[in-house]
Amino acid sequence: MTSDKAKDYWSRNLRLVLGCLVVWFAVSFLFGILLVDVLNTVQIGGYKLGFWFAQQGSIYTFVALVFFYASKMNKLDREFDVHEG
């Protein structure tokens, strides 16, 4: 791989990771802790929304996030032809 291509691959990877980490931060630290009182004014079934994010929603989002990242990276690997045989 040429060094330009390698740089491009790496910066696309970094952008993807950064995007995922923004979501990671939002569902846990933001919705689950910092904004918990505001979100708790919304009720979904028996759950207050902020409480739900802290004890349920953040965990579901983490799972989805890891699989999203894995599939995006697999695509990126093939696009740059750096995937394994």
């Binding site: 791989m1 390698a6 691959y9 790496w10 990877n13 990771v17 995922c20 980490l21 990671w24 846990s28 630290f29 689950g32 802790i33 910092l34 918990v36 009182d37 708790n40 979904i44 079934g45 028996g46 759950y47 207050k48 409480f51 739900w52 802290a54 004890q55 349920q56 953040s58 965990i59 579901y60 983490f62 799972v63 996030l65 890891v66 699989f67 990242y69 894995a70 990276m73 697999n74 690997d77 740059f80 032809d81 750096v82 995937h83 394994e84």
Partner: protein, 593 residues
């Protein structure tokens, strides 16, 4: 059938299964011993990782913690799962690409420094040993409570089992046994939760039951009911925040980066065939962990509600609304025997009053009713999961299953930790540093001896637990968060970090975290040497010692960056190596040099 006979049968069957797997999955090469020959399917590895990660603490203690802390315990739920996001994106695929056997080996190679490797070995051994002591104690407790054998006998039985399959099978044997242990533990955890959720809400899925209305026809939501019941007795509302926000954030962050930096978790990702398997395997691990972690809040809330309702059977302060001590259920008597539950009839009425006697607003009601203080003087929160099926009057086979599940959780984590310790001793210290001339066959023998030694040391500490065993858990996470995680991450993401920067960063992160913990817990945990009061008002800016790991990690990043930029660039071949691990192509099989 009688509970005890049933428990013997269920636990005995699970042990027989582990033994069969051990004989079938023997290791014959160092690669099989350290990384299971890099042939584990990503889903299977995810399951093994989940069992490896979820210890006696996750299985037994976490729901109890949630039951008594309510919303505030969310830090553990988010912290111990969010770490896998970091692991999947920042470490696992790259370390798999690098393709070596241990975590210190990567640090030593990347920072071309024997000092860095040895600092990493020390962190790994301290963190893992701390952890394993707790597991050993958990095994002993589970045995002594459920099989009614002495604590020591239970511990020896547990040691013998781990010894057998870990020494024989190494990573290969441990992995396949962990898969079986995951199945046992998740079954044992969810079955009672489903039953209890059905009883209370009519909804069989605990995650939904927690957000449903009560099945008693009142139409009240379970969580609202719990807030109400607790509020009536002067306790804080379950769903409301009680601790400081900054501390919650830092504790969550520390647990996340600590999780991602724990060597026994990281090395599980060395066992999959490909880089892309390492990415998806982290996702599978999180799926299997989430099954338990999203059930735990339901278990905690429902156990608390059942406990309150068992004791306070009617309206607060009504004449006949408190359980009479003479009518106490069997589980109450059983746990009283262990000393983890204590009752004291303060007002001499023969009934049990369980309320918050520190609440000022409730004091008047209590006085009018003739209550003289909270009479449940001790309710150890660790008993909640184990007592839960009994409190909910579930059949005996469910209770037997919970015993087998608790033991499976403790055994699987202990084995993973012992393997991390043994491989860093035989591979990093002997083969890598002091005796590089030994052959593969000799190294395999040394790793088996190191494993046997680690089992014995862990067993010794399990029998004679040092007084500080509980306090040092914060230390294990602090070490992983403040030293190992930043070094690994910068090793991959910042090419400019050199040997001096990495070593200075690790020592600064480690040092500051140690100092902060020692300030509150005592120097080397020796009682009486603590310099500041270990409570929220004594903590600097409200940061608890367990939450300092995140700050230590920041210090590590900053120091490593500054020192590296002030000194020379890393050599050419190291920079090439970093470029190489950033792309998946060309990941080979196992190699040890």
């Amino acid at each position: 059938m009688e509970l005890q006979t049933l428990t013997y049968i269920v636990v005995g069957l699970s042990f027989a299964l582990y033994m069969v797997i051990a004989v079938w999955a023997r290791a014959s090469t160092t690669s099989e011993f350290y990384v299971a020959g890099k042939g584990i399917h990503p889903v299977a590895n995810g399951m093994a990782t989940a069992a490896d990660w979820m210890s006696a603490a996750s299985f037994i203690s976490m729901a109890g913690l949630i039951a008594f802390k309510g919303y505030d315990a969310s830090v553990y739920l988010m912290g111990w799962t969010g770490g896998y996001v970091l692991l999947a994106m920042l470490l696992a695929p790259y370390l798999r690409k690098y393709g070596k056997f241990t975590v210190p080996e990567f640090i030593g190679d990347r920072f071309y420094s024997r000092t860095a490797r040895i600092v990493a070995v020390v962190c790994l051994i301290v963190a893992s040993l701390t952890y394993v002591i707790g597991q050993m104690k958990g095994i002993g407790v589970a045995f002594s409570r459920f099989l009614e054998v002495p604590f020591e006998a239970g511990l020896f039985a547990g040691m013998a089992i781990v010894f057998f399959y870990a020494v024989l099978g190494g990573m290969k044997g441990v992995t396949y046994t962990q898969i079986a242990q995951y199945v046992v533990l998740i079954f044992a955890y969810t079955v009672p939760a489903v039953f209890i959720s059905l009883q209370l809400t009519g909804n069989p899925i605990p995650q939904l039951g927690l957000g449903s209305t009560m099945a008693d026809g009142s139409g009240v939501y379970l969580l609202d009911k719990l807030d109400l019941v607790l509020g009536d007795l002067g306790f804080a509302a379950y769903t409301e925040q009680k601790g400081g926000t900054l501390n919650m954030i830092l504790l969550t962050l520390s647990l996340m980066i600590g999780t991602a930096g724990l060597p026994h978790v990281i090395m599980r990702f060395f066992t999959v065939p490909k880089v892309r398997d390492a990415r998806s395997s982290a996702g599978w691990a999180l799926v299997f962990i989430a099954l338990l972690y999203t059930t735990a809040p339901a278990v905690g809330a429902m156990a608390r509600l059942n406990l309150m309702n068992t004791i306070q059977t009617g309206p607060v302060a009504a004449a006949d609304a408190n359980l009479a001590y003479a009518d106490k259920p069997q589980w109450f008597t059983n746990w009283e025997k262990t000393g983890l539950l204590k009752y004291e009839d303060k007002n001499g009425d023969g009934k049990i009053q369980y309320y918050n006697d520190k609440s000022e607003s409730f004091a008047e009601t209590a006085e009018k009713a003739g209550w003289k203080g909270n009479e449940m003087v001790k309710v150890d929160r660790d008993i909640m999961v184990l007592a839960n099926p009994e409190i909910a009057k579930l059949p005996n086979w469910v209770i037997a299953l919970v015993a087998a599940g608790g033991i499976a959780a403790a055994l699987s984590t202990a084995a993973g930790l012992l393997l991390a310790i043994a491989s860093s001793i035989s591979h990093d210290l002997l083969k890598g540093t002091f005796k590089p001339e030994i052959s593969e066959k000799q190294e395999l023998m040394y790793s088996r001896i190191a494993m046997a030694g680690a089992v014995l040391v862990a067993g010794y500490f399990g029998l004679n637990p040092p007084g500080f065993a509980a306090q040092v858990v914060a230390l294990a996470f602090g070490l992983a968060a403040s030293s190992l995680f930043p070094a690994l991450m910068m090793g991959i993401f910042v090419k400019r970090i050199n040997n001096k920067g990495a070593v200075a960063g690790m020592l600064a992160g480690l040092g500051s975290t140690l100092i902060y913990i020692f300030l509150y817990k005592g120097i080397l945990f020796i009682p009486g040497t603590a310099m500041l009061a270990d409570n929220p008002s004594g903590w600097i800016m409200g940061i608890s010692p367990g939450a300092f790991g995140a700050v230590g990690a920041l210090i590590n990043f900053a120091v490593a960056y500054a020192v590296s930029n002030a000194t020379e660039e890393p050599p050419e071949h190291i920079q090439h190596m970093v470029e190489d691990i950033r792309v998946p192509a060309g990941a080979g099989g196992a190699s040890d040099h």
